[in-house]
Symmetry: C2
Subunit: 68 residues, 2 copies
């Protein structure tokens, strides 16, 4: 388990936050996910690699990249 950070563009409301949270949870049901709508920052404590989560969020229609 480690904490990964993604920068996500395109989230503009709580519905978007819920959608992104669900995408991460689908990859790792045990993940602890925190989404900050204002900054677009997603943090997750998870066993899944950051780039895999970024790819899943991108496939969900948002623009996601691993935070530097």
């Amino acid at each position: 388990m480690s904490t990964i950070r993604l920068d996500v563009k395109g989230m503009t409301c709580q519905g978007c936050v819920n959608a992104v949270t669900k995408i991460v949870k689908r990859k790792d049901p045990g993940a602890d996910v925190r989404v900050d709508l204002a900054s677009g920052r997603v943090e997750a404590t998870t066993a899944v690699a950051a780039d895999q989560l970024a790819a899943a969020v991108s496939a969900g229609g948002y623009e996601a990249k691993v935070a530097p």
Copy 2:
């Protein structure tokens, strides 16, 4: 090509509409997609089956089913 209809729950803003549109376009880049935020109705002219699109939208964090 045919016109398929989905009922989608969880879209609450234009960001959600964009996300759902992108999910459908990822399955079928040539699809013509129309999303009505107020009703949750998604219509697409596409060669992809409605249940496959509903599954993709659901995987994207929304609750989607083929409209009756």
